[in-house]
């Protein structure tokens, strides 16, 4: 297990591993989402209270769940990056942030759209919406911090610190806004009782679960692809990257940015 983990952590083998895995994740994710959309929009019955408006949960709930999961994943990667100084984990942190921000924004927008028919306003200072908004700012902070540094390694490690402090902060924000104000409907899905004895009709629940699974797989695919790009950019001077990126007989097959230090590298052709 450990040797496998170590081998995977080396950029070239990760690159090849991701190259093989990502298409499967993407295809299965999109298929599941497609199936969920069909079931959710055309098969599931309308809600007796909310009518057809409830159908937005098939986008909203997975996006909201992912926004938190991605932040958690990002901070776990951050901890790995800081403790073991693993380059791949650094790449994982900065590649997760924009995806997380996108899902958070999606959750916010769909939440607002859902809020209009059910609460009568696009925006209410509800606990979950507010903490989602704070989460968006946390993501934007990570993205902005990354861009503020010119050194990719430093940037990633700074982001890792921010992600770690942020992940302590997320539950605090969540409970503080909950204490402050809440009109959000309680979670129908996540509790032991709810899983044993579902409150949702199976025909409504099934597409939701499918959509959740599909979105997680989709995220996995996008994350892997972004990490691949990040690894390529980081390792752009390494031999294996040039073998992948540049066909050998291309006339301008030389390192992208040849600083003085590269003259000493043994990996030059």
């Amino acid at each position: 297990m450990w040797t496998w983990f170590h081998r995977l952590a080396s950029p070239p083998s990760f690159y090849r591993f991701a190259d093989r895995l990502a298409p499967w994740l993407l295809v299965s994710g999109l298929l599941l989402i497609g199936w969920a959309v069909w079931l959710g929009l055309f098969v599931a019955p309308a809600d007796y209270q909310q009518g057809d408006a409830f159908r937005i949960i098939y986008v909203h709930v997975p996006a909201a769940a992912l926004s938190l999961s991605i932040y958690t994943a990002m901070s776990v990667a951050g901890a790995i990056a800081l403790i073991w100084r693993m380059k791949l984990a650094e790449v994982a942190v900065v590649s997760a942030a924009p995806i997380g921000a996108s899902f958070t924004a999606l959750a916010l927008v769909t939440g607002m759209l859902w809020g209009k028919p059910t609460w009568g306003a696009y925006w209410v200072w509800d606990a979950r919406l507010t903490s989602e908004l704070v989460l968006l700012f946390l993501y934007l902070g990570v993205i902005g911090l990354q861009q503020a540094y010119s050194d990719a390694r430093m940037a990633a490690r700074a982001c890792a610190w921010l992600a770690l402090v942020g992940v302590v902060n997320v539950p605090i924000v969540h409970y503080s806004v909950q204490w402050w104000n809440s009109l959000h409907q309680g979670s129908t899905l996540l509790s032991a009782e709810a899983i044993a004895n579902p409150k949702m009709a199976p025909s409504m629940l099934k597409p939701l679960l499918l959509s959740m699974a599909g979105n997680y797989l989709f995220f996995g695919a996008v994350w892997l692809r972004r990490m691949q790009n990040g690894v390529l950019l980081r390792e752009r001077r390494a031999k294996w990257v040039r073998e992948i990126a540049l066909p050998a007989d291309l006339p301008n097959a030389r390192p992208l940015a040849g600083g003085p230090g590269t003259a000493k590298r043994g990996d030059r052709t």
């Binding site: 050194d151 390694r153 980081r234």
Partner: protein, 199 residues
């Protein structure tokens, strides 16, 4: 600890490898003059040896203890609002060192009383450099890591530096110094390490 061995040191700045497998050693009583063009990794090397920067790989044995090494970077570590005396006293307190006569240390580097008490922001470049070098006099430590210590020093300053260096070496100390100009004074134990040449 009379010998510092550096073995296969690899240091990068950002994604650029500045030192790629550097090995050398320095013994007590020696001066190692580190040479190299801009960007060759002179400062990075000293920073790694002082614990300011992390090496990617390689071995430094034994890594000098905090209380055994002096670091005078190319920045003087003087707060401009505080006087040279106050800066020196702060540095000593920060390191848990007791200063018996801080004024004498400043006088030894040629800073007289009015210059000791003036906010160091008002001192000239050379005087600031001297104030930074006063730390070497105030607290004796075996290993000196000096990054461009001669920058801004006048002729008397250079002579003074040569004298400091000579006394330190005679006492069994060792010096690793980067400088673009030749070191002043007679240094029988002077060795050179050219980073531009190192492969």
């Amino acid at each position: 600890m009379s010998r510092l061995e550096v073995h296969q040191l690899v240091v990068s700045r950002g994604d650029r490898v500045v030192l790629d497998g550097l090995s050398f050693s320095v013994a007590a009583g020696e001066v190692l003059h580190i040479l190299g063009r801009n960007g060759a990794g002179k400062t990075s090397l000293l920073e790694v040896l002082c614990g300011l920067r992390r090496a990617d790989s390689g071995r430094i044995a034994p890594q000098p203890e905090t209380r055994e090494r002096h670091w005078v970077g190319h920045k003087n570590a003087l707060n401009p609002s505080l006087s040279a005396l106050e800066n020196l006293q702060f540095w000593a307190a920060l390191n848990g060192e007791r200063l018996d006569d801080p004024r004498a240390a400043l006088a030894a580097v040629g800073l007289l009383k009015p210059q000791q008490n003036r906010p160091s922001g008002q001192l000239s470049t050379g005087q600031k450099r001297r104030a930074a070098l006063a730390r070497l006099v105030a607290v004796p430590r075996r290993w000196w890591f000096l990054d461009e210590p001669l920058a801004g020093l006048d002729v008397q300053g250079l002579a003074l530096f040569a004298e400091l260096l000579g006394r330190h070496l005679a006492g069994g100390g060792a010096v690793l110094v980067t400088s673009h100009q030749p070191l002043p004074g007679e240094l029988p134990s002077l060795r050179h390490l050219d980073l531009s040449a190192a492969a």
